[in-house]
Symmetry: C2
Subunit: 316 residues, 2 copies
């Protein structure tokens, strides 16, 4: 394992031949029937049963996808719903993902300043050395929120750099109301998200944060559904890895998302969550594979990789 | 207990005769020696021992302050450092605070959109009905981040309203780099934080969110250290409760903070954290009360209340 997060991403993307990453957003009610009918996991309203089912589903899913994709993005909100039981499950999944050779992005969207930011960074980026928690791993990278400015980014960036890990800062999200904040523009027509990108890039381009690959460990989250307002970022910030949500269920096309990739395929992680992990609900897979939910997920990953590869060929 | 959060705050502020709230930011290394020397709590590097010590300290502190202040603000980052062990302690303290009649603000600064925001809102504002977690209480209100716009606020606002709880949205923070983002201005000189305030106020002024007191359950976090740029918010948004950090250790004066209070003393919660909970480290108390750390905390609350009351008299 290379010690620099951005270099590890380059290696993983090249080795798996795709920028596709799979997002784990597990909801009990949507889990495969065979898991929900298991004797000890058949009660949605029992915290232990629910998190056991979610753990089982996510672990099996990761075993399917691990040979095919460079990384998983685990959305902590789906675990926080089960309070501390859920949080223990979240960390357990990170260990499983690491065992499977996947890079792990903890989608935690934390944000604060000063000592509080340092504590969040410790919780989410530092492998704990506390007795009782010593076998726990923190993810390889996390998502964070930029609203407090550089003071709210640097403590995370410093911890990530120290640990050989990474950070993805929200820059331009893909939801309808994002524009009111993130496209808010100054007298010169410069937008808030462009200002945020500049701050993030300044923090990320410090020499100690740039790996042998030429990429920084400080990346940006930019939604794939707004390619017209964001494709300039790829041109402007050549050291940045982009994490691009919205491919699949949220409606961004493969071509939209690939604007963030460089010609060699590095530079962007394109995330699909529901379209992959719930592939067995989609008629195109359900009709073919019936109750074989794992085969549906496997085929959905293959199909997404092919679609992205074809779009990349068209782009080049 | 009134069913509307803003009405409960009015009652609590009037009954305790202060807008002072105490922030719990517990760090093991700074706990009183008598707690750290307890046989089962004397190992900073053992997760169980550390969270037990923190729980003991926070519980004892809340017993001292509960008769004197309307609310506590519990900063979840200080608990997340201990992963799921810490999260269980955070929720245990909410139950203790509720038993003591304190309103509880969970300082969690969550932020996301869509289903993810709904799940965060459920975790942090809804008392869980899951078997295994059924005795757990969620806080009366939480802090959230506005960077994704209204889509990222409304799921929290809806859950809070449904549960008789509240939300405080970050509007203008008090850290040095906040200006680069939050004072970013459009061609008319209108700033980002003013735009955020407008969005928050629009969400908050819906009739179902406004209580008998005339206040909304959707409030704003505005730092006390930047009174020149923010006091206009009190004038403009008369339905809003402000949560004002920065009094005490962060350098905002009583007069700075009181700009957010209406003449009857309602409308703002003025938070002091380290200056109260570590009062026993301050020479003015240490010299007088020696190892009686509880007496130091008690006197620090009394002194802060007197200072705020005097500043309020001067203002009126």
């Amino acid at each position: 394992m290379a010690s620099h997060f951005a270099d590890r991403l380059c290696d993983a993307v090249k080795s798996k031949k795709t920028s596709l990453v799979v997002g784990l957003d597990p909801v009990y009610s949507r889990l495969p029937a065979v898991i929900k009918s298991h004797r000890q996991m058949n009660d949605e309203f029992d915290a232990d049963a629910a998190v056991d089912a979610i753990f089982d589903f996510c672990t099996q899913t990761m075993r399917i996808i691990a040979p095919m994709v460079p990384a998983v993005k685990i959305n902590i909100a789906f675990f926080e719903k089960y309070l501390w039981e859920g949080l223990e499950t979240y960390y357990a999944l990170i260990t499983e993902a690491d065992d499977l050779g996947l890079e792990v992005i903890g989608d935690v969207k934390r944000g604060d300043i000063g000592h509080t930011a340092e504590l969040y960074a410790a919780a989410h980026l530092e492998n704990p050395e506390l007795a009782g928690l010593e076998d726990t791993l923190a993810p390889d990278a996390i998502t964070i929120n930029p609203y407090t400015g550089a003071d709210g980014i640097e403590p995370f960036a410093d911890m990530a750099t120290k640990q050989g890990k990474g950070v993805f800062v929200l820059v331009r999200t893909s939801n309808p109301s994002a524009a009111a904040i993130q496209d808010f523009a100054d007298a010169d027509g410069r937008t808030m998200y462009e200002k945020v990108a500049e701050i993030v890039a300044q923090i990320g381009e410090k020499p100690e944060r740039v790996g042998a690959s030429g990429y920084s460990n400080i990346g940006m989250v930019v939604g794939g559904t707004a390619p017209n307002v964001t494709s300039a970022l790829r041109q402007e910030y050549d050291k940045v890895w982009f994490l691009v949500p919205g491919y699949g269920s949220q409606g961004a096309s493969a071509a939209d998302c690939l604007r963030f990739c460089k010609p060699d395929g590095t530079g962007a992680l394109i995330n699909a969550s529901r379209s992959i992990i719930y592939a067995y609900e989609r008629p195109m897979y359900k009709d073919q594979y019936r109750d074989d939910w794992k085969r549906s997920i496997e085929q959905a990953v293959i199909d997404a990789k092919v679609e992205l590869a074809n779009a990349m060929q068209t782009k080049l």
